[in-house]
Symmetry: C2
Subunit: 142 residues, 2 copies
């Protein structure tokens, strides 16, 4: 199995609301519209996809159509190259309709990070630290 | 905000078990070991990270230390270039300790896909369809 994730699929309760948050609020590019029933963002590398929660669960099997927990168990991190970008991106997400779950702060691993949740409660960490970036902006993992 | 996800963090109940599934079972490369307390895989683009569930929740805030639901609401897709790879990868995941949640089958969008769950129940779709791949193996989203 090649070491790559093609698509991260987020099951959302309101496709229009999630679309506006990610496209208009965060600025992620896409040619899709909510009336298409599914949104693919043109990300660098792994694609982010929005799809109605019930349909995503049903696409696996009926056994997965269950209530969501407060914490999915999965977080998405967006690493930035400068420390001030952490608070700035959290503020941008909040202005877009997200919520700051953890304000920007120094971490015990020597970095600086915070968390916001999207309108469905999915968690993004915005993080700064001693990471190296490749030419696409992806982390170089040693 | 640049359109990219740096890291997908999976909160796992047994770091050693998850490490063996992804490194030994699926073949994802890493220089980390469970005794490091956190695993970063060297993926193409977005990094996959394993971290103990309770610690990941606590890293957000104590409010997120809650029981997991059967369905996280998030799926990870791994797209392949040929149809037979779907069933083959599902079998590989099952042999590694995962479970086939949906056997390989034709889809209503003209593709062919199935789902497996990892030892923590996180869902991966293995999908084949009319997608184009870039030189790194990532999907080209129109």
């Amino acid at each position: 199995m090649e070491p790559r994730v093609s698509i991260i699929g987020l099951g959302v309760s309101d496709l229009e609301r999630a679309f506006r948050f990610y496209r208009d609020g965060l600025g992620f590019p896409t040619s899709r519209r909510p009336e298409d029933g599914i949104i693919f963002f043109k990300m660098r590398g792994t694609c982010l996809c929005l799809y109605p929660y019930d349909k995503l669960a049903a696409d696996v099997s009926p056994a997965f159509i269950t209530p969501r927990a407060k914490f999915a168990g999965i977080t998405l991190a967006h690493n930035v190259r400068t420390k001030p970008e952490v608070a700035a991106l959290l503020a941008q997400a909040e202005a877009a309709g997200g919520a700051i779950e953890k304000p920007a702060q120094d971490t015990d691993w020597g970095g600086h990070s915070g968390y916001f949740s999207d309108p469905d409660g999915y968690l993004w960490e915005v993080a700064y630290g001693s990471f190296d970036f490749d030419e696409q902006g992806h982390l170089i993992i040693d």
